[in-house]
Amino acid sequence: MRNKPVGEHDTPLAGLRVLVVEDDYFIAEEICSTLREHGAEIVGPSPDVEQGLRLIESRPIDCAVLDINLQGSFAFGIANELRQRGTPAIFVTGYDVSVLPGEFKSFARLEKPVNLRVLLQTVQAACAGHPALQES
């Protein structure tokens, strides 16, 4: 019942450290296991903003997958922090794009329920310039 790996390599994300912030355990687990299966190292997952910010402060991160609505509070604080560091982030959301503040309109965005194949491609595209991906 597992999804088959996609892409040319089995581990196209090898060497990437991906932060996952998602308050739904099952979605977080699904995203993390998919990314892990394809070589990424997971930072988190975190169910809330506070823990997400702590992880950004304490761990090196190459890319982030963020749910926008975390039990009523928004992940824009985390997104802003990442934007200032130049770390690419991908929004996973059940919302219409109109609720995104203007400065995040250019962020990649995936709708729930997430298509895991598209998620992998989006992470890969967001990190295209990363040295870890170019070596492989």
Partner: protein
């Protein structure tokens, strides 16, 4: 003059022209010099100005300008129904400002409006000071009480610098005030409608958010059920029962949209849906309402505990019992201590220990999503599950919930 009047009043245009043509002699009466027609023209121009204003302040400004054009009034003053302040609009340069509730102008207008009739007061010798510092004496005041569903008690036109309205102008001004009243009412409705639209949009966004999360949860349940089921039949029956448990919770969430479902109702609904007899369980705990997401996860957990008790535990024997209880503790941190305790179970089979969907809910999902501290054990007496939920906006319903 007539053609201008006709152009300004497209609705009545045809009738006016027809009557003028049918009676040629009356045409002479409608020359530009007729004071009546001139007054009508000024009145109509003012009414149109008020009717086409958009926004409450624009309505006041249009009223002040219309009163100036019609009767040389210096401006208009309005007292809101709650008497919290007084709005004053002046013609000429055109400004709208707000006066303190204690102003003598407001008291005079309030008193006159309370009388219920249009009242003219001459030379009240009332000094009005605008927030801009501008001062003037309002020498004549015409107060028109208006219907309070406009949000205001009364409107008062005022004159200064020795200007006074003619008797004919005075008779027309209440019509202006009532048109203003209608315009204010319609602006109020418009504002309410807009507010309702914004509210509705945020509710739709919240529903959409929940629907998508729910679909994601269902997808995970399907995947987990597939991984743990030992046969296609078991897969189908587990899946169906889990989705039913989720559906029951959704039903409860819809009914108690604002307040959240009662914990006791969730437990009773789950046990009753699985045909557990009333004398086989005891529920004790204070009234407690769960936030939507917490209700879903707790209901799924309850479902798994119930199914386990039906297959391997207390509900396999007529004398088996389950006690579900909870207490609310405020120290060290606000916590809901929830317990599921089975008794009179002779021996628990090894299969009850397997790492199923229920164990994942208890050991992983509840701690991750709700910050719960959980324990699950099986002793000779039966299964025992402890869930300590921290009380916060994730787990409990607060009055001011989300929405966006």
């Amino acid at each position: 003059m007539l053609s201008r009047l006709v152009a300004e009043l497209p609705g009545g245009a045809y009738r006016i022209r027809a009557s003028a043509e049918a009676q040629p002699e009356s045409r002479a009466m409608t020359s530009a010099d007729s004071p009546d027609l001139d007054l009508s023209r000024r009145l109509n121009s003012g009414l149109r100005r008020i009717a086409s204003a958009r926004g409450i302040y624009a309505v006041f400004l249009a009223t002040a300008t219309a009163a100036q054009e019609l009767a040389n009034a210096a401006g208009v003053c309005a007292v809101p129904a709650d008497r919290s302040h007084c709005v004053i609009a002046t013609s000429g340069k055109g400004s709208v400002s707000t006066l303190d509730p204690s102003s003598s102008l407001q008291q005079l207008v309030t008193g006159a409006a309370a009388a219920g009739e249009t009242i003219v007061q001459h030379r009240p010798l009332m000094e009005v000071e605008l927030p801009s510092g501008q001062r003037f004496l309002a020498e004549t005041l015409l107060t028109v009480p208006v219907s309070t569903d406009s949000g205001y008690l009364g409107l008062a036109f005022f004159w200064r610098d020795g200007l006074t309205p003619s008797a004919a102008e005075l008779t027309l001004l209440p019509g202006l005030a009532w048109t203003t009243c209608l315009a204010l009412k319609s602006q109020r409705h418009e504002n309410q409608l807009q507010h309702a639209r914004i509210e509705q949009r945020s509710q739709i966004a919240e529903i959409e958010h929940r629907a998508r999360n729910l679909l994601a949860t269902i997808r995970s349940i399907v995947r987990r059920s597939g991984q743990t089921a030992e046969s296609p039949d078991e897969f189908a029956s587990h899946l169906e029962a889990r989705i039913s448990a989720l559906a029951r919770t959704q039903g409860a969430l819809l009914i108690d949209q604002q307040s959240g479902p009662e914990l006791e109702d969730l437990i009773r609904a789950e046990l009753t849906a699985n045909a557990v007899r009333e004398n086989q369980f005891i529920i004790t705990g204070p009234s407690w309402r769960l936030a939507p997401r917490a209700a879903e996860t707790m209901a799924l957990t309850l479902h798994e505990l119930t199914m386990n008790a039906l297959k391997f535990g207390a509900f396999t024997r007529p004398d088996g019992r389950v006690e579900v209880s909870w207490t609310i503790e405020s120290s060290p941190a606000p916590t809901l201590r929830w317990r599921w305790t089975e008794s009179n179970v002779r021996s628990a089979p090894a299969s009850a220990h397997r790492r199923g969907f229920g164990m994942e809910l208890i050991e992983r999902v509840l701690p991750y999503e709700l910050g719960a501290v959980t324990r699950y054990s099986i002793a000779d007496g039966g299964a025992h599950c402890e869930i300590d939920l921290p009380i916060n906006e994730r787990t409990a319903v607060t009055i001011d919930r989300i929405p966006l």
